[in-house]
Amino acid sequence: MRDVHYASPGASGEALERRAASPGPDTRFLGGGTTLFDLMKLGVEAPTSLVDLTRCGDLQTIHADREAWRFGAGVTMGRLATDPSVARDFPALAESLWKAASPQIRNMATVGGNLLQRTRCAYFRGTPAYPCNKREPGTGCSAIGGAQRGHALLGGSEHCVAVYPGDLAVTLVAFDAVIDVRGPGGQQRSLALAELHRDPGSTPHLETSLADDELIVAIRVPRLPAAKASTYHKVRDRESYAFALASAAVGLQIEAGRVIDVRIGLGGVATRPWRATLAERHLRGGSLTRETARQAAEIAYAAARPRQDNHFRLELGMDTLIDALMQAKERL
């Protein structure tokens, strides 16, 4: 690993100035470092300069009012997982945090950084002996035709089938979260979280709609009635501390037996945080039973393209969603 310049400013404005002073993709914002430092050790990432955000006090705030939550991007996953207002009023969000990683890593990783966590595809993380369009554009995809047990059922292209590995964003995308972003001149814009991650298409190395020098400063989530009866159901190879084989974030609002609102995010199975909009539409206005949940799951996975090694995750993904819907119903 080559050495790297490092700065640790005390406010996000100063961090943006530091970033602007050394433009280009080799200068990177650094949160907890649990992805970036890991990939530097593997030689997949090789920044020349790091701007550490973890001392930026203005990125550390958690704010809740009647309309929305606002989480500073520098808040750690561990802190947000145990925030009393989140745990009480939005169980899916708390669960998508504490079911991720380990307690140690959650104490380090920031929520802003977590949104940008990079794929765990072993070919991406592997050596140059394995071509990877995400790591080295144009070299090919080793997963297609290779070992693909953990690869994407939804959203893949002939250039990349790497799974987006995060959990938090799966809940956030289902609940209409918005991110606040600041550019080098301090100018701010907001975009729906659903707009943050890109489909791999023919450019899998371009993972988000952010410019190199843009910084996520906050995540905002509206307080929806469906947040209360919500769950994040995560199925893994082992009970804890593993990435999802399949997950589902679900929220429900039911009145007089009719579904008023339903939210469905799918994780571990797609190339980006996946909102199952058509499945939501199928359930709205009707009753939620195991049978209608199964119909919704079949709609959610209708576009799935399983391959030889990951076919089992199609049935697993549908069962995970059905169980999540039934779990959320019990929380009404």
Binding site: D52, S102, M108
Partner: protein, 203 residues
């Protein structure tokens, strides 16, 4: 630790590395370090860390992990390097009272912060921390390599209030792997260590 400079202390590890010819290439290949003992790169930064209550002034390269700085610069080899990628928990230490994996912590991030390692647990009177003693009493190890990380994690688990039931201990100790599979005894030790910490006012 004695008052001798770290470089002059001859510990078991130094003895092995310097006297066992075969060990050198093995260590070189398997335990690549991010913390050079020799000259520092141009980007090296002056840092002051408090490690186990002792103030340490160090010039650190930004790429150095806290794990490598603890082991290679401060000779605190109780903290173990397992996977070096945040997957095993053997390198768990406390930074400002919070458990972290030191392999994925840039050492420069700890400038001005308080670091506690397995060496800094026992009180000055020589008695072990009650959690260390619980691991011994329950024989909660076989090879022992993961044990310092298990103990650092267990103490944090109790202080966070996550040792309320066996299932909760399993969940909140899941970041520490034991390749020997001593989990049954580790669970017993953490449960008993939690009881002793509360009884002794350690929590």
């Amino acid at each position: 630790m004695s008052d001798m400079p770290h470089e002059l202390q001859l510990d078991r590890r130094t003895f092995m590395v310097t006297t066992t010819g075969a060990a050198a290439p093995v260590l070189g290949a398997g335990c690549a370090t991010t913390a050079p003992r020799g000259p520092q790169g141009a980007s090296a930064l002056p840092c002051r860390l408090t490690v186990n209550g002792r103030s340490e002034s160090l010039t650190l390269e930004a790429r150095s992990s806290l794990l490598d700085v603890l082991r290679e610069r401060l000779a605190l080899t109780g903290t173990k390097k397992g996977c070096d990628h945040g997957q095993c928990g053997a390198c768990t230490v406390h930074v400002d009272g919070q458990r972290v994996v030191s392999c994925l912590t840039l050492a420069v991030k700890c400038d001005g912060r308080d670091v506690r390692t397995i060496e800094g647990l026992a009180p000055d009177d020589g008695a072990l921390h009650v959690m260390q003693q619980a691991f011994i009493d329950h024989d909660a190890l076989q090879c022992g390599y993961c044990t310092p990380g298990q103990i650092m994690s267990a103490i944090a688990c109790v202080r966070e209030g996550h040792a309320g039931s066996d299932d909760e201990i399993r969940e909140y100790m899941s970041g520490n792997l034991c390749r020997c599979g001593a989990y049954v005894a580790i669970l017993d030790a953490v449960r008993d260590g939690a009881r002793r910490m509360k009884a002794g006012g350690h929590a």
